[in-house]
């Protein structure tokens, strides 16, 4: 047991260190050349200046220009942090989905969140409903929902709600009917989205770009929405990691081992859909992160969710940040939606997994 705990601690430490490196490097990379040490100092001094009792004590010599600080703090850092949060959220949601559906091919969009969100976003874009916004005042800072964001969030939650209600049998959630109703609801929303794009004319390209998933609209407002979402989602799902282990054995064995199966299943699925909808609303539909990250980590750390979930969270955050950096650098001065990059890496990986599975069968 001690060796296992030591192994777990080692894995998480390595991943956390790698994540910090990736974060700083990703922030440093960009058209304007700002060195890694400057980036580190800019971020540190900003943090220090925000904490009252530290600002008088610690002094960091300013070696950068105000312009450089602006690029880092207002453009690059929000984008990197948002990538971290969205990546972590998608990874934790994917891990939960794969456990609950006992299927390594499940992903966070399995309950139709993505098509519902696409429908909501397409509705806003096609009919130009940009005036509909929502501001939640929270004292120190206000969270503002843009129209597209609001549409995507509402659409995603609507689709999930429908899937739950079609799929459930009384208080039980039979996996087969939930998956099938997910497929049905997705197909329905996709059809409407296609129709909206068809009649939309000039707004077509905008919907297409949104659906591909990108982080170029990242700002601090998006971060204030995603930060609590990601935190709550990760903590609660981690708290249920032993229950998720039990669920891998099947519903009846899990209940015989003391897991309240129907409550855990419904609760985790609802939470998973909620955090996924939030992630989609700020970033569009970024595919494959929620599918391949849990899978990859399962190969490395094993199926126990107590290590699988935290390591997937770290890896998901790292992977999306790296992919997003790549997407904005690969054909400058334009950038590719990050959803294309994740799919480009994700699809071959998926094929690799399938071929492994085939070998196992043969």
């Amino acid at each position: 047991m001690e060796t296992k705990l030591f192994r777990w601690a080692a894995i998480l430490t390595v991943l956390a260190l790698a994540l910090i490196v990736v974060t700083i490097v990703a922030t440093a990379i960009g058209p304007a050349n700002i060195s890694v040490d400057k980036v580190t100092l800019i971020i540190l001094s900003d943090i220090v200046s925000k904490i009252p009792f530290l600002s008088g004590q610690v002094h960091i010599t300013k070696t950068w220009t105000d312009g450089e600080a602006g690029i880092i703090m207002l453009v690059r850092l929000p984008r990197v942090i948002l990538a971290l949060l969205v990546g972590a959220t998608l990874a934790v949601a994917g891990t939960a989905a794969q456990a609950i559906f006992k299927n390594p091919m499940a992903d966070p969009y399995i309950l139709g969140v993505s098509s519902g969100a696409a429908f909501g976003a397409a509705l806003v874009i096609t009919f130009g409903l940009y005036t509909i916004t929502l501001t939640i005042p929270l004292g120190l800072l206000d969270i503002k929902f843009g129209a597209i964001q609001l549409g995507a969030l509402t659409g995603g939650l609507l689709a999930t709600f429908l899937v739950f209600n079609i799929g459930r049998a009384g208080s039980k959630l039979p996996i087969e009917t939930v998956i099938l109703s997910g497929i049905a609801v997705s197909a329905f929303f996709s059809a409407i989205t296609s129709f909206l794009m068809y009649i939309g004319g000039h707004s077509l390209s905008q919907v297409v770009y949104w659906v591909m998933g990108a982080l170029w609209s990242a700002d601090w407002n998006g971060i204030w929405l995603m930060l609590p979402t990601a935190l709550i989602g990760c903590v609660i799902i981690m708290a249920f990691s032993r229950d998720l282990n039990m669920l891998l054995l099947g519903d009846e064995p899990a209940s015989h081992l003391g897991t309240n199966v129907s409550i855990v299943k419904a609760g985790i699925l609802a939470l998973m859909s909620l955090i996924t909808a939030a992630a989609v609303s700020v970033s569009g539909i970024i595919g494959f992160v929620g599918l391949i990250i849990p899978h990859m980590m399962r190969l490395i750390v094993g199926p126990d969710h107590r290590i699988l979930i935290p390591s997937s969270i770290l890896m998901g955050a790292m992977f999306l940040t790296a992919a997003d950096t790549f997407s904005r650098m690969v054909i400058q001065p334009t950038e590719i939606p990050v959803g294309i990059i994740t799919a480009l890496i994700g699809a071959p990986f998926f094929v690799y997994l399938l071929s492994r599975k085939k070998k196992g069968v043969a």
Partner: protein, 414 residues
């Protein structure tokens, strides 16, 4: 310990269980038997709270099952299913540690205590050497032992097993059930086990519950439940139930399904046999619907036992004794009434020679059939029996080479 009080269960309008009442105590192994669809698995599912009974209640350790939380119930009751497949690569030790789940807090990690208990359970079930092996890669018998170790790690008072050996080879079946029996004694468990195999049920259970058409048909010791009548009714089968001479346990042999028995032909056949030469003949003739009589046979002769099992009217004589005039007269009477007389490939000595005498006297115009394979010496009277058999053959007896040919020849008789 475990009280089942008037449990009924309906799937929609279909009744699956009706008025099941039963009580099981510490250190008892209760076997649940019955044909497919009689409600065995449903009963086990209501006991483990997977299904809620439509009416009635289950009381476990003086508390109603309804009032247990999932976690609390898992500390009192463990379930071993028929088969367990886990697609994910947990090691056997990790699987057994999952049995500690109901005893642990949400953020608690397995400590020394958990490991000690899991290790002890794995040693008890002889699975400790498998601890680092992936669960999905061990054999069926090993897997079932690991699952039993997991169940024990829950430290339950009640152990439910749903056909735990149906997918295993016979050596593993005995191994698993021996283990359950030993653990029952050591830990004072209440064991409720669904078994398909009546012989295993007779061997390992203290009491049996026979379910038939969703109700309890019989409960009690194996000897009280495993009777020709109850098993015949529940399984629609004709069975022989005996004590095994070597093990002393009851064992059930299936003769045929009741449906397979042919209607009575109304024809009477008397069989002269002995020393096991007529056992199969008696059974075959009986299941073909003939009205069979037999004799004279000595008590303790295996043919005599067969005749008794098959409820065939038999003239009998004390063990190792020659045929008395009274028995002779009764056997002759039976032969006179029969439509045909059959002589099996039985050897003749001075003890049973009079049977041939009776055949000669009774035959007259009625058909006589002889089974003769000529491979073995059958005359132990120094020529007397051979002479009499020749005489029977001379007066038109039909000679056949085996039982099958005899049945066929008999079928051709008008």
């Amino acid at each position: 310990m475990l009280d089942i009080e008037r449990i009924s269960f309906n799937y929609g309008t279909a009744k699956v269980l009706e008025g099941i009442t039963f009580r099981a105590g510490r250190g008892e192994c209760i076997g649940i038997i019955g044909p497919n669809g009689s409600g065995k698995s449903t009963l086990l599912k209501t006991l483990s709270k997977v299904l809620r009974p439509s009416s009635g209640r289950v009381v476990l350790c003086d508390k109603e099952l309804e009032r247990y939380s999932s976690k609390e119930l898992a500390r009192h009751m463990a379930v071993v299913p028929q088969d367990t497949n886990i697609d994910f690569d947990f090691t056997c030790l990790e699987v057994v540690l999952m049995g500690r789940n109901p005893h642990m807090g949400r953020f608690e990690l397995e400590g020394k205590r958990e490991l000690d208990i899991a290790g002890e359970c794995m040693i008890l079930t002889s699975t400790w050497h498998l601890r680092e092996r992936p669960f999905s890669e061990v054999s069926g018998g090993e897997r079932q032992r690991v699952i039993i170790a997991r169940a024990l790690a829950q430290e339950p008072a009640v152990l439910l097993l749903d056909e735990p050996v149906s997918h295993l080879d016979i050596n593993h079946q005995i191994e698993i059930l021996d283990l359950v029996e030993r653990l029952k004694g050591q830990r004072g468990l209440v064991v409720m086990i669904v078994l398909h195999d009546l012989n295993l049920a007779a061997r390992y259970c203290d009491r049996l519950m026979l379910l038939y058409e969703n109700k309890i048909l019989a409960t009690g010791s194996p000897a009280e439940v495993l009777t020709h009548e109850y098993i015949g009714q529940a399984f629609r089968a004709n069975v022989v139930i005996r004590k095994h001479p070597l093990t002393g346990f009851l064992y059930v042999t299936l003769l045929n399904a009741l449906e397979a028995q042919e209607p009575a032909t109304g024809k009477a056949v008397h069989v002269v046999c002995g020393a096991g030469t007529g056992t199969r003949l008696l059974f075959t003739l009986r299941s073909r619907g003939y009205n069979v009589t037999a004799g004279v046979l000595n008590v303790l002769d295996s043919d005599y036992d067969a005749a008794v099992q098959l409820s065939i009217k038999t003239v009998s004589e004390a063990p190792f004794s020659p045929i008395t005039p009274e028995s002779y007269a009764r056997a002759l009477d039976m032969m006179m009434r029969a439509d045909a007389i059959v002589i099996s490939d039985v050897p003749f000595g001075w003890g049973n020679l009079k049977n041939l005498q009776a055949v000669i006297e009774a035959s007259g115009s009625k058909p006589v059939m002889l089974v003769e394979n000529q491979n073995e010496e059958r005359d132990f009277t120094g020529g007397e029996a051979a002479r009499m058999l020749e005489r029977i053959k001379a007066s038109g007896a039909i000679i056949v080479k085996d039982d099958e040919a005899l049945i066929e020849a008999l079928g051709r008789q008008r």
